[in-house]
Symmetry: C2
Subunit: 861 residues, 2 copies
């Protein structure tokens, strides 16, 4: 018969998917001989079977629970509901840590009888009373969803009335009964079964489902339930509880970091209701225990080979570990910890790379407030620097408002799991209560969202939708700025500036380059972009768009002359004027890339995009072209299109007006020759957009080769170049075998390919894409993360067909998806040679590439 | 050693691809013992080897020619260039008849010596002189490209001067020499080899290549060369030549049809220079020969089991057959001949179906001038009714002008192979010279182009670009109308009207229905269209678009109210007004289809297409909606899209505004129930457009099923219905396996699928598609004939994936391509169950389907 329950002593850390992270680690620590209050774990399989059994605890499971409880009574030498009463905590714990699920019920087993025994045994009636009150409230909230504020109101009233303890408890139970229509369960076993069911049910509450969707966690892995004998941190001044990180989760420094509260239970720290003390201060209070804690921390980090996030409780000077897990951390800390662990010889480079979430490091690449800006701004108020970064935005006081406005600064008394969705959308988070390990802080760091916590001098009025600091009032919709690295809050919008790379970050990037099987190129259109990309370690430029160059002041009038030319003679005159300017563009870019390949895409958008809108600009043209305003208007009218995205653009322009592509190719090659003459190597690649038929590419290739070869021959310089094509039209994918015959390389233009494969105009799809997301028709925005089943399938076909024709065909991708880690995983799986993305995404892409190389995973359709 | 030459006696009709059509038939007739002037055929393989040998007659071939000539001398008891001189004709002849190639050189072997011998032997110096003159001219033109008019001018001058025969010939030869810089070859063997090379070369002249491209004839099958001993039709009044069809090629009547000329050579008849006499008149002139001809005609038709087109020559009362082939015919004749042959027991139904070119019968379905229109119009001039049908258009006097204007009426003295391209583009053809078997007549009938020939009373001035009839002048660009069935020409544009189906045509359609493996449905949006389709034998409606219905006067204002509604309540009110009207639309269509399935596509285009453009219309809306003009304008502005083709349309509308599709589905089912109650069976199918993700279809299906099932349940009537989807987005093709789970049927929307797969907006692609055709980047317009390699490949994937999921999934196609025979061949090959096309294309589609079923051919990618 299948076993659904494991006592801690029978588990271990390798059983994470069966026991959940919490249970597995408690078991592991038990095996390590650490001071762990004993208990047992109900497996994740049991939680899934619970749904099969139509949400009932089936007989067999009940029997197992009873048996394990009996064993626990034996181990602890106590009895459940008996004279030497055993109390337990009940916690959820999936294999992957998941805020949003039920977390914890403490002190379970308390009833009118055991309450009195606890008071007598400990000689601390107040402690027993507090524990009982808290249990009733927690049980009510977690198991039956009775809102906490109702007990808070009742508490206020009872305190005011000076109600006696016995009557007090009665009122608590009356509140319970009035909410659920039955009596508060006195039988500890009834309490336990109800608590276990609550954990099982919480697996499918909306917040948990949302979190799993957000983080791509499967819905069928289930949660474990840990039932553990209680130790009490609230038994007086020789007791306490706390959370400690083995390193600093904010900056990564190798130094214990944490908080504790004397005479408190664990939930008091996490919930952020009382502001706790720094862990260092424990040394003064309980030196022995502090030393013991440090030793245990070292032992656990060595054992798990990663920074640990440890919960502990001290009961009458006795230290117990209640939980350990890999600690959440900021991107900076993640990088510091990972590189330190490598340098300390604890882990390999590969392990270090796998420890860093690529999306997370984007916060390091994004702007911060400049020193100057900060120096000139007055601090409104200061809180705890819970999650670094800089954020500006309008103030909103609820997650709903943040969602409505698609961003802003979320300001809350404290956050709760209900806020996860809003926190994810918010630009920054500011709370009045709570410490560095409060819900807001932990979640924000995980999301890479800027966050300031425990900003107690703020006077928040949620009803009025405003907060006050002294006599300054900030109302909903006003702008504030947060500096998550210092905890300072500012009025108004502060300007942001770029942040540099730390040495540790560079180290990670170097290791990623060593390990990564795909090259990471940049999408860069200017020498400046090219330089940024080069500094981030780009292996070249995968997409240099030429259309932005055409908008430059010096060029635009000539470009317009070219477009409005009525014959190829007029057009050539305009192009002759553009050629030297275009050549200069490429010289700067080639120089910046220092010998790396540069892929230049010939002009792509429909020509009418370049035409003047202002009258003044049109007048300029009448003069330079010697034609009337009416002529200009007429020629412009001819260029209008109903669906420009599917119109006369890309190589279609190059075919109807071969002079344009010839000029561009000449400029590219002339620039390359000039740079090469100056001693810098150049590898130019000419890329033709929007090819759907091999004949298009063949036609253009023949023409461009003849122009380019002549330029090279006349220069007397040896220069190699490539001519390739974007693959961005579905027809190109299904006929890629033919197209490969004329192409030196393929580069997937996944923006257009997504657009055309779905038939969604990027400009217009906004009208229904949000509706599609809400109705679960689209699981993700296909313009952000590649649509594997559709677009991906076509890409895979193109790779197979292209390489079938040319075994070593160079194939990469240069759409927005090139910087998206999830998409990179797919690109790696189909064997692309490179991704090309915006300069600021290069580090993320490098890391994602390295991780996928290490995982070596394959997709299957 | 490979044999490159076959004497007639060694060949046969089954050797067509080796000997060409002409050679194979001459061989066949030789075997049948018919009176054939003997000769030999140089194989098509030789003509291809000629290109391999760098366009030289290689030694081995020369030897074979000499040997075969020797044998021919023995058979004919004459000698080539000798005292009893042998003369030969040299003709080209590919396996597939091909105008545009070199046709014939007659009288080869004549030189100053044999000319005199011929004159002496026949005692007819004039005949010998005429033959020699003609030989020099033909040889000059055909072998060396010397334009005929130069000899015509010279002839006029020499006639005027009364030049003597000897000097006359000398002048002819001088002209030759002045053109090519060498002397006219006197040696008959030099003449022969040059003529053979000219045939070989003509295979790749531009006209021949154009013709092959136009008709999808491979370029590597080559042409045969027939060298045949001459018989002379121009030896006086006991000689003659003619062309005869065993049945009437214009109407198909089973009665000899043809023309002859006394004292003439074959070219005189074909070139249309002298107007020949009707074949019946031969009986009076040469009763014996006429009887013999009739017997031979019967024999040949019986043997070939098809209508024959026979060339004959009478030399001194001796009848010779020079050629037989299956005769080109009009669509009407093709149908009549085919059905007659079946009824006469000569061929099977399958053979009959294969004898008719589907595209050809479109002329029968296309309009003719109504009797009334003709009665009220004055005839300008009358010619020969060479190819039936009705045409109106502007007059142009050259093929270039026709091409420039993409149509019009081509008016020529006579047409030549250079005109083929123009004739193909022209709406109609009118010639001054030439008979029913002239170049113009034969080619026009083959193309199904309306044509009037031999309109001799027209006075054509090509230089002035006008023609006169009496004192009426018609200039370039003016409109005329041709009635190809009567030969009457009218001034101006006559209105056209529909033509009915003949009994024979219905017979062919019935046989096609019996045999065809695919159903042929109609694209019909109105009860009238539905009726036409039903009468043409449609098996149902494959595409009933609902958007046109929305434009009806009664509905359009409500439709606009619906579109501009700001919430779903307002929208429902408008929809409630549309519902009863929409229901009526469907009732009419269901009734017309009498129990056949009707697939209704829910609304597809972007909503802004329905919005008013005129101020008056907008005013109407302000009143009915009670909002201001500004509101109207603002709401309209919101609906604008940059790329409506890729925007908020199709099922995307249905998902954001479910009320619309719900109303339409309700109307469909309520109409079906009403019609069913009246005793007519109904098979409604609801089709959802533009699906790219199974989730879209699933979402809508669930909603529509619940609406529809309720309607059915409340009615108390049993009604089966289907819900399926268009497949018209590339993503739908590659994920068709998933989509099939929610679909009862697939219908390929090949218009949109082509548009999106290529990324060509139909509205805008005109700008480059013509350029693409000219530059050979597109071999055909992909919106007319399906692009097999790209769009077809995606369709094949969709079929495979869809049927992989649902083995018996009903899959068809309802784009414009559904009525295109070449596309139908492909659709048949990938196993589609039906094609749906416009009512007037149904007969063509039925025939094409039957033919492909008979061929049973498979495509391979």
């Amino acid at each position: 018969m299948k076993k659904f329950i494991y006592p801690f002593k029978d588990g271990g850390k390798e059983m994470k998917s069966l026991l959940g992270g919490k249970g597995a680690n408690l078991s592991e620590m038990t095996k390590l001989g650490l001071p762990i209050p004993q208990g047992f774990v109900i497996t994740t399989e049991a939680s899934m079977k619970y749904y099969e059994e139509e949400k009932k605890i089936w007989k067999g499971l009940k029997k197992e629970i009873e048996q394990n409880l009996k064993n626990l009574e034996a181990v602890t030498d106590k009895n459940f509901g008996g004279d030497n009463p055993l109390f337990v905590s009940v916690r959820s714990g999936a294999a992957i840590s998941m805020p949003g699920m039920m977390d914890t019920i403490l002190n379970l087993g308390l009833n009118d009888k055991t309450y009195k025994l606890l008071a007598t045994q400990t000689g601390n009636e107040q402690f027993a009373f507090n524990s009982y009150k808290r249990f009733i409230q927690m049980f009510s909230e977690v198991v039956y969803g009775i809102e906490k504020y109702k007990y808070d109101l009742l508490e206020k009233e009872l305190e005011k009335n000076g109600t006696e303890k016995e009557a007090y408890i009665k009122e608590y139970k009356n509140l319970f009964k009035s909410e659920v229509n039955f009596k508060f369960p006195e039988d500890p076993m009834d309490q336990l079964l109800a608590a276990i069911e609550a954990v099982f049910s919480s697996w499918n509450n909306p917040r948990a489902i949302y979190y799993r969707n957000l983080n791509n966690i499967p819905h069928d892995i289930g949660t474990g339930v840990t039932v553990q004998s209680m130790v009490f941190g609230n038994m007086g001044d020789t007791s306490g509880t706390g959370v400690v990180f083995t390193r600093n989760p904010s900056c990564g420094e190798n130094k214990l970091f944490g908080e504790f509260l004397i005479n408190a239970q664990g939930e008091d720290v996490v919930a952020g209701i009382r502001t706790p003390k720094k862990i260092e201060e424990l040394e003064a209070v309980m030196p022995e225990t502090y030393k013991e804690l440090i030793d245990l921390c070292n032992l656990l980090e060595d054992h798990y080979k990663d920074m640990q996030d440890i919960e502990f409780t001290i009961e009458n000077n006795e230290l117990y570990i209640l939980q350990t897990r890999n600690g959440k951390r900021t991107a900076n800390a993640a990088i510091k910890v990972a590189t330190d662990l490598v340098n300390e010889g604890i882990i390999t480079k590969e392990k270090a790379i796998m420890m860093i979430e690529p999306e997370m490091i984007s916060q390091l690449l994004h702007p911060t407030f400049s020193e100057e800006e900060l120096a000139n701004s007055e601090v409104l108020v200061t809180g705890l620097a819970a999650s670094p970064g800089a954020a500006t935005g309008r103030v909103y006081f609820s997650s709903e408002k943040i969602k409505e406005n698609n961003g802003g600064i979320l300001v809350r008394l404290e956050t709760s799991p209900e806020d996860i969705e809003g926190m994810n959308i918010a630009d920054g988070i500011l709370t009045v209560r709570g410490g560095m390990t409060s819900h807001a802080a932990v979640v924000a760091r995980g999301m890479g969202r800027c966050c300031i916590c425990g900003c107690g001098s703020m006077d928040l009025d949620e009803e009025k939708k405003e907060f006050k600091v002294g006599n300054i009032t900030v109302s909903e919709g006003e702008y504030i700025s947060l500096n998550g690295s210092t905890g300072n809050v500012y009025l108004g919008e502060l300007n942001k500036s770029d942040s540099g790379l730390t040495d540790e970050f560079k180290m990670i990037l170097d290791w990623s380059s060593e390990i990564g099987a795909m090259k990471v190129l940049a999408n860069a259109d200017t020498p400046l972009d090219a330089k940024v990309a080069y500094d981030f370690g780009a292996n070249g430029i995968g997409l240099c768009r030429t259309e932005h160059m055409f908008f430059e002041e010096k060029k635009i009038n000539h470009v317009r002359e070219m477009i409005l030319a009525e014959n190829s003679h007029e057009r050539k005159i305009a192009l002759d004027n553009i050629l030297p300017l275009q050549r200069l563009d490429f010289i700067g870019i080639f120089e910046a890339m220092k010998g790396n390949s540069v892929t230049v895409r010939l002009i792509d958008p429909p020509l009418h995009e370049f035409l003047p809108k202002e009258k003044e600009e049109k007048l300029k043209l009448t003069k330079s072209m010697g034609i009337t305003m009416e002529d200009i208007e007429n020629r412009m009218l001819k260029l209008e299109e109903l669906n420009p995205m599917l119109g006369h653009r890309g190589c279609r322009l190059g075919i109807t007006y071969p002079e344009i592509y010839e000029m561009q190719s000449r400029a590219i090659i002339e620039a390359a020759i000039e740079v090469k003459k100056s001693g810098i190597d150049v590898k130019p690649e000419i890329m033709i957009p929007l090819v759907g038929k091999v004949e298009e590419l063949g036609y253009l290739r023949e023409r461009l080769v003849s122009v380019v070869d002549e330029v090279i021959e006349n220069s007397g310089i040896e220069l190699e170049y490539k001519i390739g094509t974007m693959i961005e039209v579905p027809r190109a994918c299904v006929t890629a075998g033919e197209i490969a015959k004329e192409a030196d390389f393929f580069s997937f233009g996944t923006n257009d390919l997504t657009q055309i494969t779905f038939g969604y105009s990027r400009d217009d799809a906004g009208k229904f894409i949000s509706d599609y997301r809400e109705k679960d028709i689209l699981e993700a925005d296909p313009f952000e993360t590649i649509d594997i089943k559709g677009v991906g399938k076509l890409m895979e076909m193109a790779v197979t067909l292209g390489r079938g024709e040319k075994k070593n065909l160079k194939i990469g991708i240069c759409g927005e998806h090139g910087g998206d880690p999830k998409s990179i995983e797919f690109f790696h799986s189909i064997g692309l040679a490179y991704v090309s993305c915006s300069p600021y995404r290069i580090p993320i892409a490098k890391l994602a590439v390295a991780q996928n190389t290490i995982k070596g995973r394959k997709y299957h359709f």
